[in-house]
Amino acid sequence: MTVKFNNRDPVYVQVIRHFKEKIAKGYFEPGQEIPSRRELANQLKINPNTAQRAYKEMGEQGLIFTEGNMPSCITKDEAVLKSVREELIIEAVDLFLGSIKSIDVPLSEVLELVKKKHDAESGEAEESK
């Protein structure tokens, strides 16, 4: 796992985001065990205190849970997982809308382009299988 962190945003925030992305993309299964904070620090090459902070925040946000002395796991709560996915999708949509706002184009045209591009890429993916 090599993640490129920028030096301006708090690293722990970037770690949480990284986890959310992984959850949304399905790399993390609900209830899946995650590395200990020390292992995570070692894998991502970050300060262990940062990993600690990230886990604390994620615990508070309900993204992960820790039972007693067991290793931490991704939440099994479907509602939480769903909201994470939604959060990321909304973020992407906001980003997208922000970019095209300046370009004066009707929404239906944009959506068609999106569908076209999406189908083309799925098709390519199918072919390369």
């Binding site: 030096n7 301006r8 708090p10 070692n42 090459k45 970050i46 300060n47 205190n49």
Partner: protein, 229 residues
């Protein structure tokens, strides 16, 4: 916690340390940043009683540093702290003989991690490997505080990666670490606290994550600000 309080030092006519104050917590990595000659090495030596100070106080866990302290704190300078004619395992024997806090298993582990041959003479090692041995000798002591002077300087990129690996591993965990460097970009995301120094004085002391969160600035950004003024 290591507390440096109002430390002043004069060397001849020059005031090399001007009212230096900062703290380094256990479990955190504190980085002294500044160009060469600004006093980073001097303050580290002062903490280890390897050079005298004119005024001020240096405390470790609330107490002055005594000979017993050397089982709780160690210094890894940028020069080798063993006889060059010694073989690596002879150096180990020496350390084991004098330090109760010497951890032979950790030494073995680091030997393998750094891929060093215990029968090699220190004088025959390359610069990078000598730096690794030096680091090994310090890390293999079960001390609470580690002082490292320019651990990344003058060694090739692969050795540097290995050393960065060390910083994020169990070898450093729970310990208080003070490192100095003039090249911060490599390790920004590894440190907890930055202490910016210039001409013998501390310009700014801050927690890097807090500054990122509250000011949206990286350490390099803060440096630009502070050194520009």
């Amino acid at each position: 916690m290591i507390e440096v309080k109002n430390v002043n030092k004069k060397y001849g006519r020059k005031q090399v340390l001007k009212d230096i104050s900062f703290t380094a917590e256990k479990g955190e990595i504190t980085c002294l940043i500044g160009i060469n000659g600004v006093g980073k090495t001097t303050i580290m030596k002062a903490i280890m009683a390897l050079t005298p100070i004119n005024s001020g106080e240096i405390l470790m866990d609330g107490e002055k540093i005594t000979k017993e302290s050397f089982e709780k704190i160690t210094f890894i300078p940028d020069t080798i702290t063993m006889l060059p004619q010694m073989k690596i395992n002879e150096a180990f024997a020496f350390m084991a003989d004098f330090y109760k806090s010497w951890n032979p298993q950790r030494a073995e582990e680091l030997l393998q991690f750094f891929k060093l041959d215990p029968n090699e003479r220190i004088a025959n090692l390359s610069k990078g490997n000598t730096a690794k041995v030096n680091m090994l000798l310090g890390l293999s002591l079960d001390v609470d505080y580690l002082l490292m002077d320019e651990p990344f300087s003058g060694i090739d990129i692969f050795s540097r990666e290995q050393i960065a690996e060390v910083f994020t591993s169990h070898l450093i965990e729970e310990r208080g670490v003070i490192i100095t460097t003039h090249e911060i970009s490599d390790i920004e995301h590894l440190i907890d606290k930055a202490v910016l120094m210039d001409e013998g004085a501390v310009l700014r002391e801050f927690s890097v994550e807090e500054v990122r969160e509250n000011e949206g600035k990286s350490v390099v950004d803060v440096m630009r600000e502070v050194y520009r003024a």
